[in-house]
Amino acid sequence: MRVVETILASIVIMVTLTFVNSVVIPPYSPRYEATELEKLGYNVLHNLEARGILTRYVYDPDIAKGQSLLRSALMVSLPSDVYFNLTIYRLDEYGGLHMEGQNIFYGDPEAFQNPKLVSTVTYVLASSGDYYDPRILVLQLARR
């Protein structure tokens, strides 16, 4: 009988642990989705810059070509279920922002309708290598 009781107690503990384990693993809940996407966005931009791709494409004299290549690079780097909308601004010497080219967009526009589910990452580039010429990249991310 003690053996049975012990087995029952063990089962209760195991069930409890299983339950706890299932709770502790972070769920893909909307509450944390934005943070996850921010992390993802920073990582992708940082990796692209570390490889020299980001600077090369952003400062490409042919803006349309550079932005097209940058769109492709982001599509390859981000998971396929993540939509993005990247806007590049040029910062003039007086602090004014001027949009460079067009928005670099991928995905369903409706995915960006709910601000709570959209993550925004700001990333700054200082120079193409020749002289100081800052660009501000605003990357919006949303999951399908």
Binding site: M1, R2, V12, I13, F19, V24, G95
Partner: protein, 716 residues
């Protein structure tokens, strides 16, 4: 049996209660585990929500962007310096401030405050090491070179509660050319090896376009690029540069300039040599001299193997016939070492300064005149001259070795070692330990030490620095008589003093240059008379030299119109009644005529055949006026029969004077008429000594004569 069953039931009941207790305990443990799990969960969720990743992302972004800014600034700095010779380090701080401001604007909700400050770092690559400070440091023009930038960043991000995050950044390019081939004494070379290292390790991604090799081309007297192919050897970062179209022959392969530019745009320039060496041989007649303690030459070294002394270009001889070229280094980098007791003795630092000279067409005659001190960042070019001094303190010393070398630190200032030369612009006075000179002219017409106003006539008032005694002015040129007073029409104008380096607070340490470029003359005795432009033009250059007993004056005269008057003087130096004796060297006999001033029966006394020098003195001081060969010839060129050495014993005011004068045409005879286009020049040196006799002037005048000018020997 019933009893047994009851007992058994009782026992079973007891076991059952214990079992329930175990289950209750297990349930309680489960509840505790769930509670702990909830706490852990909320804790994990809290930190996830606090977004460490986000702030790390921002910090990474700031540092990555800062790297871009710093590297691009280093690239621009080195590019600017390499291409133009000018680089402004002050923009670094401004640019980093700009970057910090832009970061604040880019992350408006983050409360991001980034500031940059200078930080020192010690870079070691093998046995090579250098300090990096003041943001950017470049060490160039040696066989090993470095360009580096170092800064410390402090980051505050109020949104994340982040304060005082400190991190430093150091980026550099190091390069080294292997010069071991020079010692092999090959006839020619076809390649050289260059090592390139960055802060992250050997630079592996360079191609031929990242290297430039310049060789000196004797046919153009300039540096020329060599076509090359660069291949990385089996050693990482070591590149073999093979010359495509030519081998470089001896000795030119000793003098190469190599520029390395990495793919970030950062540059380093290397030199395969670090100094230029030669010997200076004295040519003065030792047998005729009793001492040479004050035989100190102030030499000028120009590009392409040209040396000058007292306006004469020196002859060059030697084992090698080709002068090593000066690398295109900022002139402020140069330094001079000279031996003290013979060419095999130890080299000692010698004061030096950097001047710019021009060939000027002045009234259809080409004359070489100093423009002034150089712009310190200017590269050594055909206009540049390095000025330094070589001593022969003993008669037994015939040669001294000179080494002109350059510093690799591009921040090096012009040489500013100890010097007895000073200039006070408030009193228009230059001082050395031997003499004091007050510049009289427009803007400063009278010296407080001499009782006569010169009304804008340009002259040099000579003063004894030890007791302030004024000897009176040195007049550069004069013509005619005014109311019985001699040497009336003298150059009128304002002195230009060249004592400071251009765009710099650094000063001359070897010699001060004063220039008078005048088209007017004035009667010095006529206070109300206006300056006249119808006599002659004057171009005079005065060198006030430190650490020697002489000062030098180079004068050019051009007559614009014909004038008739009594007497034409190349120089008159006043005595203010101080000297008791005078003497001069007779040009014809080579003998010395020595006399006493007769202040009791004062006159203007003239003597025929003036030679290379004249002197006057008393027991405390003496002054000699020395002419070189060409000056004596020019003195005699106008009318050799009327050339005179003369003295005037009384000033127009009646005071004792005691002058020395060189007259090209004496004032004691008939009037003389000049003519338009009459032109002549002369170089004079004044020797300041302790008096007692003329012996010192008679000993040292040789060193100013072209015949006895020193000779340059080029050596390996």
């Amino acid at each position: 049996m019933h009893f047994l069953k009851k007992t058994h039931r009782q026992c079973g009941s007891s076991r059952g209660e214990r079992g329930q207790f175990v289950i209750i305990a297990a349930l309680m443990m489960a509840i505790m585990i769930v509670s702990i799990a909830v706490v852990m969960y909320s804790t994990v969720s809290y930190y996830r929500y606090e977004s460490w990743e986000e702030y790390m992302g921002v910090v990474d972004n700031v540092m990555a962007g800062s790297k871009q800014v710093l590297v691009s600034m280093l690239a621009n700095y080195t590019k600017s310096f390499d291409e133009t010779g000018i680089a402004d380090k002050s923009v670094v701080g401004d640019m980093l401030l700009h970057w910090a401001t832009d970061l604040y604007r880019a992350f408006p909700g983050y409360g991001l405050n980034v500031s940059f400050s200078k930080r020192s770092a010690f870079i070691t690559v093998g046995s090579y090491n250098r300090w990096v400070n003041d943001f950017i440091k470049c060490y160039w023009h040696f066989p090993e070179g470095l360009s580096a930038i170092c800064a410390e960043a402090k980051i505050d991000a109020l949104k994340f509660g982040l304060y005082g995050y400190n991190t430093s950044a150091l980026y550099y390019l190091y390069a080294k050319v292997d010069i071991s081939y020079i010692a092999k004494n090959l006839d020619n070379i076809q390649n050289i090896n260059v090592t390139v290292i960055q802060e992250s390790g050997p630079a592996r991604d360079l191609t031929s376009s990242n290297f430039e090799v310049l060789r000196f081309d004797p046919s153009t007297n300039d540096w020329r690029a060599v076509d090359l192919i660069a291949n990385e050897t089996s050693d990482p970062g070591v590149y073999k540069l093979t010359f495509k179209s030519e081998n470089i022959a001896k000795p030119y392969y000793k003098w190469l300039l190599i520029t390395v530019r990495d793919n970030r745009g950062v540059r380093v320039r290397l030199c395969t040599y670090t100094y230029i060496e030669f010997e200076v041989e004295r040519k003065t007649p030792v047998s005729k001299m009793t001492s040479s303690a004050d035989e100190i030459y102030t030499l000028e070294c120009g590009i392409g193997g040209h040396w000058y002394w007292n306006g004469k270009e020196l002859t060059v001889e030697g084992d090698i016939t080709i002068m090593p070229p000066f690398p295109p280094v900022p002139i402020k980098q140069f330094r001079v070492n000279v031996t003290q007791t013979g060419s095999s003795s130890q080299l000692v630092a010698s004061p030096c300064q950097y001047e710019i000279w021009d060939k000027v067409t002045w009234h259809n005659k080409t004359i070489e005149v100093p423009r002034g001190l150089a712009e310190p960042w200017a590269r050594f070019n055909v206009s540049s001259r390095i000025v330094f001094q070589v001593k022969f303190p003993q008669l037994t010393i015939q040669k001294q070795r000179v080494r002109i070398y350059w510093l690799d630190d591009l921040d090096a200032e012009p040489y500013q070692g100890p010097s007895d030369l000073t200039y006070d612009s408030a009193t228009f006075t230059a001082n050395t330990n031997r003499y004091r000179v007050e510049f009289i002219g427009v803007g400063h017409t009278q010296s407080p030490t001499y009782p006569y106003d010169y009304y804008g006539v340009a002259a040099l008032v000579m003063i004894n620095p030890s007791n302030g005694l004024c000897f009176g002015p040195w007049n550069l040129h004069a013509f005619g008589i005014s109311g019985g007073s001699l040497a009336a029409w003298r150059p009128y104008g304002q002195w230009q003093i060249k004592y400071w380096y251009v765009n710099s607070t650094k000063r001359a340490v070897v010699r001060l240059i004063a220039i008078l470029n005048s088209t007017q003359v004035k009667n010095v005795y006529d206070a109300s008379g206006r300056p006249r432009s119808d006599y002659y033009d004057t171009y005079a250059v005065v060198f006030i030299t430190a650490n020697v007993k002489y000062l030098q004056v180079d004068v050019h005269i051009y007559w614009k119109q014909s004038k008739t008057d009594d007497g034409l003087w190349f120089a008159t130096i006043m005595g203010n009644g101080g000297p008791t004796n005078y003497a001069f060297l007779n040009y014809t006999t080579g003998s010395v005529g020595s006399y006493q001033y007769n202040y009791r029966d004062p006159r203007h006394r003239e003597y025929k055949y003036p030679g290379y020098w004249a002197a006057h003195w008393n027991d405390q001081f003496g002054r000699g006026l020395i002419l070189n060969d060409i000056s004596v010839q020019n003195l005699r060129s106008i009318n050799a029969n009327r050339t005179r050495f003369s003295v005037t014993e009384r000033a127009p005011s009646g005071a004792n004077q005691g002058s020395l004068e060189f007259e090209a045409v004496n004032c004691g005879g008939d009037v003389y008429t000049t003519y338009a286009g009459l032109s002549y020049g002369y170089a004079l040196a004044m020797w300041m000594y302790d008096g007692g006799s003329y012996a010192e002037v008679n000993t040292y005048y040789y060193m100013f004569l072209e015949t006895y000018a020193p000779k340059i020997w080029l050596c390996e």
